[in-house]
Symmetry: C2
Subunit: 147 residues, 2 copies
């Protein structure tokens, strides 16, 4: 297990991805996947640019990490994502058997926790890491959208 | 709404995709997406070949249909899939706001119904179309795997 300083370090990298999404007019969510303190995937939400509801940051990072590892199971991997995963992404994480998920802000309406999506029993979850930063980026995005 | 003959016609096309998956050594699930009686996407499970847990038949068809339509919402579209969608695929279908889902066989263990994944309120679901054929293909696959 990484210590909380390391979690903040990696979550900052995920937040940088979320900022790139923001600049592209995408709902600002960023994700990275780490194995043995090494970043093996980084991505941000691209649903608008790709016209594809499946192009969430997590989905892209799962595919990229599996490609890097040469296998579909994300053993010993940690996903850092700025926002709580949705049903789709949690469902994909279930199949991946990922070891650990760290997310920033809760998504009370569409997050997997409220909706009861089942993760793999091997998966450990932590949240709240840089939560304020992730929430503030989301709020800024929706405020600008309304203008 | 299409009549049941039409549903069987399109489900046969999905089953043909499942058979292609079978021949490739993939868990045999096939999917197609139809709009106004026209097939705009066809796909089969490719998780083994692509080493990617996200490469379910439904996910590929959602991406392909959105690409064909030039928009990410699958309005007036029907997905035909041989097996009940999982949490991930049901989560993606939620985001797509697809009009109708028709599936063949139930998946009592990992299907979205047992696991309580939420679909979009606009989505109508029917199942049991060519169920015996879809089940028999799955059973044959797992029997051969055990040999």
């Amino acid at each position: 297990m990484e210590n909380s300083n390391t979690d903040e370090y990696f979550m900052k990298k995920a937040l940088q991805e979320a900022e790139v999404a923001f600049e592209k007019g995408e709902i600002p969510v960023g994700a990275i996947i780490v194995v043995e303190n090494r970043i093996i995937a980084r991505s941000h939400n691209l649903t608008e640019m790709l016209n594809d509801v499946t192009a969430h940051a997590e989905m892209q990072s799962i595919t990229a990490a599996a490609n890097f590892l040469g296998g579909k199971y994300l053993k010993n991997c940690t996903l850092y994502v700025t926002l709580e995963p949705c049903q789709m992404c949690a469902g994909a994480l279930y199949w991946s058997q990922i070891s650990r998920i760290v997310f920033g802000a809760r998504d009370e309406q569409r997050g997997y926790m409220a909706l009861g999506t089942k993760l793999h029993p091997k998966t450990v979850v932590e949240y709240g890491v840089l939560e304020a930063e992730a929430s503030s980026l989301m709020k800024r995005f929706f405020l600008e959208k309304r203008k």
